[in-house]
């Protein structure tokens, strides 16, 4: 399964090793790890709680991965996203893309993150000294996803 939504942590090294095992055609692995920061919008963050829409979230992630596979020639793709209560420095999300060369691996990894942030139904709530608040969507994330619409499939 190339898409997982889970409460538990993940081991990046073990995931990449499992992906590479038995496939000497892989020449490049690009990965992205998103982490909980201890500061957001000027306030200390003690706890970050992630909510999702079971079923739709997994489907949305699978669609994003399928779109990336259409655009680039990829060998393996893995997306893991955690939900539930997280603390500063905890890992939130992992995207790993394996291909023959680095160009498609880098590009697909960034593409998947840009669309995950704007399309996949996850919501963050943060606990700060001023109380709990829902994190607002950022225009910059929409702009990051929108720039891919101008790029043709395959053009890294």
């Amino acid at each position: 399964m190339s898409v997982r939504v889970q409460t538990g942590d993940f081991d990046v090294g073990a995931e990449i090793a499992a992906m590479r095992r038995g496939n000497p055609k892989i020449g490049a692995v690009a990965s992205f790890i998103g982490l909980v920061r201890d500061l957001n919008d000027g306030d200390a963050v003690a706890v970050l709680t992630l909510e999702h829409y079971p079923g739709m979230t997994e489907t949305a992630l699978e669609k994003i991965v399928a779109e990336a596979r259409q655009r680039w020639d990829l060998m393996e793709v893995l997306v893991i996203h955690r939900v539930g209560e997280l603390k500063p420095a905890d890992q939130i999300v992992l995207v790993v893309v394996a291909g023959a060369h680095r160009g498609e691996a880098f590009a697909a990894c960034e593409f998947i993150m840009d669309f995950l942030k704007t399309q996949a139904p996850f919501w963050k709530k943060e606990q700060t000294p001023r109380g709990t608040r829902w994190v607002e969507a950022r225009a910059a994330d929409d702009e990051a996803a929108a720039r891919w619409h101008d790029k043709k499939p395959g053009s890294a």
Binding site: G55, T59, L116, F122, W123, W134, E136, A137
Partner: protein, 85 residues
């Protein structure tokens, strides 16, 4: 016509429920008319779902638009813009 309606994140907190089973009249033909029906409840429903609020809607777990039609048995979800990653 029976449908299921779900609310997520800040919207869930504002309206005070995760979801509900609704038996709606056949005149509620689209996402927009369902939203208007919920807004008409007033109070927190009106402020949370009012026109102009940045809301996303899914029908049967697929992204939907105001004009998306509703049919019996549909699962309709309302939620704020997503903030994962």
């Amino acid at each position: 016509m029976k449908i299921k309606v779900l609310y997520f994140a800040s919207l869930r907190e504002q309206v005070g429920t995760r979801g509900e089973d609704l038996d709606i009249s056949p005149e509620v033909v689209s996402v927009a008319s369902l939203r208007a029906l919920l807004v008409a409840r007033g109070g927190a429903w009106q402020s949370a779902l009012a026109q102009g609020k940045a809301l996303r809607v899914a029908v049967n777990q697929e992204v939907a638009q105001p004009a998306t039609p509703l049919t019996a048995g549909d699962e309709v979800a309302f939620f704020p813009p997503v903030t994962g990653g």
